[in-house]
């Protein structure tokens, strides 16, 4: 109690930006409930179904957590989709049905992710190439190299590794718990470590951060490595889910653009320096809720696409409209 009296009152008023993702999430959930009730399909309102909705977007969620890190430092990563395909194929080829090869395969995938992230980071911060171009180029290189070697499902994932995608602990899928753990770790890193606060500093104002003694290049490289490793994990998850790796799973899921959209809907600013993991998680939930609404309402798949495009823009406009700044 005494603490409350001692500390000066926090800035009064409602901090809209902080709550916007939650408001959007609440809105999406309300629409979901209303549509389910209105169409008389109340079986969609059960706990099991909500879990099922969540587990559909695990790969997107993992990728988006990584994407949050790069966007926070005012960078961006378009290479995640091809990296997901590449790591899924790599892991499934290395495993090739043998449980003994699980650990080497996972390590290989993570190392590939790390190397790609390191390259991205060095090209962006060292050569000063615009991150959009650098990672787009990287994406072309990965996709090209990948399709030079494989054109179809390659390798086989042993049953033991499929636990990652299909295992359950009580009512919760393993993958969902894993995603939650990743989100908690990401949140803790951003909130409680020096690296986390440095990231916000670099994203907010690169030059000021450098003058404050932060090694900005290192921060950018590290966040790119985190992003690519997250994409590699998403690739491993998809390999486990599909029981084999295919060179198109990343680009088919449009994980590059969708992860960016999820992050931005979650309130992380593309210009960097503002946002966080929980917003991204809210963004992921919004995305999967919208998809479920479309499914329940039986919206035509082409109309679904049209609505999705409009919803992405509208959701971002929901808070961007209040800013007075001129956006890029």
């Amino acid at each position: 109690m005494s603490i409350a009296e001692d500390t000066p009152p926090r800035k009064a008023g409602f901090r809209f930006e902080r709550w916007a993702p939650l408001i959007l999430l609440g809105g999406a959930f309300a629409i979901y409930v209303v549509v389910a009730v209105a169409t008389g399909q109340t079986q969609y309102l059960t706990f099991e179904n909500l879990i099922a909705i969540l587990s559909r977007s695990i790969a997107l969620g993992i990728t988006a957590i990584g994407q949050t890190f790069v966007i926070l430092v005012a960078s961006i990563d378009l290479s995640v989709a091809s990296l997901i395909s590449a790591t899924a194929v790599l892991a499934s080829v290395v495993m090739d049905g043998s449980p003994a090869m699980i650990v080497p395969a996972v390590l290989a995938a993570l190392v590939l992710g790390g190397v790609v992230g390191l390259t991205n980071g060095v090209v962006v911060s060292g050569l000063k190439v615009n991150p959009l171009i650098a990672t787009l180029g990287m994406s072309l290189i990965i996709q090209g190299a990948l399709s030079a070697f494989v054109s179809n499902f390659a390798g086989e994932v042993p049953v033991e590794f499929q636990i990652f995608a299909y295992g359950e602990v009580g009512p919760f899928p393993v993958a969902l718990l894993f995603l939650t753990a990743m989100a908690v770790i990401g949140w803790a890193v951003l909130k409680y470590t020096k690296f986390g606060s440095d990231m916000y500093a670099v994203g907010g104002n690169d030059e000021a951060a450098r003058f404050a003694g932060i090694k900005t290049g290192r921060i950018v490289v590290l966040s790119h490595v985190i992003c690519s490793v997250c994409a590699a994990i998403a690739g491993l998850y998809l390999a486990s889910r599909l029981r084999s790796g295919a060179p198109w799973i990343g680009s088919d899921g449009v994980y590059d653009l969708e992860s960016i959209a999820v992050v931005v809907i979650g309130g992380t600013v593309l210009a960097g320096g503002r946002g966080g993991i929980w917003g991204t998680m809210a963004g992921m939930l919004i995305f999967s809720l919208i998809d479920s609404v479309f499914n329940i309402a039986g919206v035509d798949s082409f109309a679904k696409q049209v609505l999705r495009g409009i919803i992405i823009v509208a959701a971002v406009a929901f808070y961007a409209i209040r800013s007075k700044r001129i956006v890029a």
């Binding site: 961006i76 090209v123 050569l127 000063k128 190439v129 615009n130 959009l132 171009i133 650098a134 787009l136 180029g137 990287m138 994406s139 072309l140 290189i141 996709q143 090209g144 190299a145 990948l146 399709s147 030079a148 653009l257 960016i260 959209a261 931005v264 593309l270 210009a271 035509d300 082409f302 109309a303 679904k304 696409q305 049209v306 609505l307 999705r308 495009g309 409009i310 992405i312 823009v313 971002v316 406009a317 961007a320 409209i321 209040r322 800013s323 700044r325 001129i326 956006v327 890029a328």
Partner: protein, 326 residues
């Protein structure tokens, strides 16, 4: 910083030539080396004809890039234009005369919406045009029911496919090349000889300074998006002419247009860009693809090469900027 590079020495130097022209020249020499037939009109005119849609697209894209944004929606706009034209003309050759203006109108409209979303709703252009890209793709599918039917009448395909024969010196000129020259000439004039072009550069360089200096920032930005949309519609009309109707004609063109503009020295996030150089970039990109084709390299390798060139071009540009200190 600027004191060291004193003015007189600068004047005596040769005028700076954009490196994209050297790249283009080197590529063309390489193509001629691989295929001597390229010096014949059939060779280079076909090359120009193939490059025309991308070049027009790049010339429009450079407006948006120079003003500090991106336009990712042009690829799916091309698809929408091609699919929409085939639906509207409905195999009726006389319909072309009103369908083409409608398509150009759609292009302008898409640009207007992009611009309004960016300026009024303050959505970053990357997200705004990404949303537009998804929406337009969906609309194209919706319009055609997933499988585009019919084909485009010859009157419509005239612009993309026909040749004007019996021209002195070059024997023939494809109509698309004439369209290319006219459009690029107009856009280059607008960018480099009018106040609109100066305003586009100013708001890309420093939007706040431009606003304080009295530039109608929103109006100029919206105009830039509309020019890009118009160029997308034009590119769609040309592509419909020689590529025919499908729901993926435009796929990937948005990134190729950005690549072309960047190869031409346009600076992402604004302030620097040239229409002729962007066209040079588009020609260079097409030349690279042609060359890789001649070399018999498979599609994956072409992708890798495109990625490497993209990164190298921007890295080189940044290196030069650091050296000149601008």
């Amino acid at each position: 910083m600027t004191d060291r590079t004193d003015a007189p020495r600068d004047k005596r130097r040769l005028p700076q030539i954009n490196p994209v022209w050297f790249l283009l020249a080197a590529l063309i020499v390489a193509i001629i080396f691989m295929n001597p037939g390229f010096v014949e009109p059939t060779g280079y005119m076909n090359f120009l004809k193939r490059a025309a849609p991308l070049a027009i697209l790049a010339a429009g894209q450079v407006y948006v890039i120079t003003s500090g944004g991106f336009d990712l929606s042009v690829g799916s706009l091309i698809t929408l234009v091609v699919v929409g034209s085939s639906m509207l003309t409905n195999n009726d050759p006389t319909a072309t005369y009103w369908v083409i203006p409608v398509m150009l109108g759609i292009g302008l409209g898409v640009g207007l919406v992009n611009g309004l979303v960016v300026c009024v709703l303050r959505v970053p252009s990357l997200i705004a045009t990404l949303g537009m890209m998804i929406t337009l793709n969906g609309l194209a599918f919706l319009w055609s029911g997933g499988a585009p039917r019919g084909y485009l009448p010859d009157t419509f395909r005239f612009f993309g496919r026909e040749l004007i024969r019996d021209v002195p010196l070059v024997r023939f000129i494809p109509v698309s090349v004439i369209v290319l020259i006219v459009v690029v000439g107009l856009l280059a004039w607008l960018m480099h000889r009018t106040n609109l072009g100066r305003h586009v550069h100013a708001i890309g360089d420093n939007p706040i300074a431009a606003r304080l200096a009295g530039v109608a920032v929103n109006r100029v930005r919206i105009t830039a998006f509309m020019i890009s949309g118009l160029s997308g519609a034009l590119a769609g009309i040309l592509l419909g002419g020689f590529a025919g109707v499908s729901t993926d004609v435009g796929t990937g063109y948005e990134l190729q247009a950005i690549t072309a503009a960047v190869l031409g020295g346009a600076q992402l996030l604004g302030g620097r860009g040239s229409v002729p150089a962007a066209v040079g970039g588009a020609l260079a990109l097409t030349a690279i693809f042609t060359l890789l084709n001649f070399l018999g390299l498979p599609q994956p390798v072409r992708q890798v090469v495109q990625g490497l060139i993209l990164i190298a071009a921007v890295a080189l540009a940044m290196h030069r900027r650091k050296q000149t200190g601008t």
